[in-house]
């Protein structure tokens, strides 16, 4: 305990804090980039997966297999797979790129199911009305189904990204200078583990808490029926 107290002034130096801040930023950047790109690609996956017709069967099988496989593999294994695969095809890829690709691959698999669930929550009669008026599949998705599915899709998708901030720690295993990696480094320099990782735990909390608050706010906002919302807007105006 005394050792910790004695280390505090030495630990909380501007240099150390800048280092931590930088790696916290890196963690956040990797998570958000990976999850956002993954989320976008997941839409494409879900759309392809819903392609009707016999000729599209192989396509559907590939999409379903992708989701089922990657949801069952530990994230750390995905990271190593991507690392070794990328190193054989493009040896100069940065570790950051490799980390983002890994997160992306994982996020596609998880959010695809969230998106599919959301789309399925919209009554099929809405799609039928659109089809009967000659809407194509993509137009139906963009103008009718998706706008109604957001309230179901967004909260769990945000929750996924928020919880992934901490899972991103695993990319430290391949040597990305993210938050947990820095922690190990500082610890190796002789700082008390409790002090270092206590601070790092705090950093993770500070990163994810505001985001999950944002998620909850969106959830509440989206849950309000549109009619009430616009009525409120009218009243306010």
């Amino acid at each position: 305990m005394e050792r910790i107290l004695e280390q505090i002034p030495r630990f909380f130096t501007a240099d150390n804090m800048a280092l931590l801040l930088q790696s916290a930023g890196l963690t956040l950047a990797m998570t958000l980039t990976g999850c956002l790109i993954g989320f976008g690609l997941a839409f494409i996956l879900v759309f392809l997966r819903q392609t009707p017709g016999l000729w599209a069967l192989p396509l559907r099988v590939v999409c379903i297999t992708y989701v089922e496989v990657f949801r069952r593999i530990p994230f750390i294994v995905v990271i190593y797979l991507v690392l070794f695969f990328i190193q054989t095809v493009a040896s100069d890829a940065s570790l950051f790129t490799i980390a983002v690709i890994s997160i992306c691959i994982y996020a596609i698999a998880y959010t695809a199911d969230i998106i599919r669930g959301g789309l399925e929550s919209v009554p099929v009669t809405q799609t039928e009305a659109a089809r009967a008026m000659n809407f194509g599949r993509l137009r139906t998705l963009v103008t009718v189904t998706l706008p109604q599915a957001w309230p179901v899709i967004l909260p769990p998708a945000i929750a996924f990204a928020v919880s992934f901030i901490k899972d991103t720690a695993l990319v430290s295993q391949i040597g990305v200078f993210e938050l947990t990696f820095r922690g190990k480094e500082l610890n190796n320099q002789g700082y008390s583990g409790i002090l270092v990782f206590g601070t790092i735990a705090m950093c993770y909390f500070l990163m994810s808490f505001p985001l999950s608050m944002l998620g909850q706010y969106l959830e509440k906002r989206l849950a309000t029926p549109r009619g009430e919302r616009s009525a409120r807007k009218i009243r306010r105006a």
């Binding site: 809405q126 039928e128 009305a129 089809r131 008026m133 009718v144 109604q148 009619g227 009525a231």
Partner: protein, 245 residues
């Protein structure tokens, strides 16, 4: 040549044959009423016409042009000529009333925005909803929503309007406002197929009544023929039960 000819139309849900060879035809400007007990396949007839339920046999021709339901372009053409109004309105919940009515004309039929909007405003005024343009569907009553649904279908300027029990989800006091709209369309010469349980209304507006049971047409004729002097036992039993109330 009839405007619409349906010949031996068949449809299945899985192994269950729901339409077992339905045939009828209608002329331009006619109002045809499909009546029959629950589960007889009336909705399925309308749904197969617009390609929402797959056809397993028979033929449908409009102006002598056969619709091939296995061919996407042919189905698109059929949907271009027919508009359906559902029992449960099925308005797009995420769009304002005006957008519900203009979305297909502008995005699908590629009509100029201003023209589509003017048309939509005219139609919504006709169904008595000129003051609801900017409301969302969940802010309207059932009767109002159903009238929007009719306006949305009319905005497509269909050759044939299909109406599936458009009053059965409504409270009695709201039924008349919707029937008034349909009555007006009938006098204006709109070609319509009307599925309805409102026998008094059918008698008033229909040029022809088709009585269906268990996925087939049992009897067809003028309303007074079917209602007052049905030839088949099945029709006599059905109308006897309904018209006595």
């Amino acid at each position: 040549m009839p405007h619409l000819a349906v010949n031996d139309l068949r449809a299945k849900y899985g192994a269950l044959e729901v339409l077992k060879g339905v045939s009828f035809s209608m002329e331009k400007g006619q109002v045809v009423a499909l009546v029959g007990p629950s589960g007889s396949g009336k909705s399925t007839v309308l749904r197969t016409l617009v390609g929402l339920t797959p056809v397993s046999g028979g033929s449908v021709t409009i102006h002598g042009d056969e619709i091939r339901y296995s061919n996407a372009a042919s189905v698109r053409r059929a949907r271009d000529q027919m508009a359906i109004v559902f029992q449960q309105y099925n308005l797009f919940q995420n769009m304002r009333i005006i957008d519900n009515v203009t979305v297909a004309p502008t995005k699908i039929k590629k009509r100029p925005k201003a023209e589509a909007r003017a048309d939509a405003e005219r139609l919504l005024a006709m169904v008595g909803l000129a003051d609801k343009l900017n409301a969302f569907p969940d802010q309207l009553s059932g009767g109002q929503q159903q009238r929007v649904a009719i306006a949305r279908a009319l905005a497509l300027h269909p050759e044939i309007l299909l109406l599936d029990e458009v009053t059965s989800a409504l409270d009695p006091e709201l039924v008349n406002e919707v029937l008034d709209t349909i009555r007006r369309l009938a006098t204006e010469g709109m070609t319509m197929i009307l599925v309805s349980h409102e026998m008094a209304f059918v008698r008033e507006v229909a040029d022809k009544v088709i009585f269906m049971d268990s996925g087939a047409v049992v009897e067809e004729g003028l309303p007074e023929q079917l209602f007052d002097a049905p030839k088949t036992d099945r029709a006599r039993e059905f109308f006897g039960k309904i018209l006595r109330h």
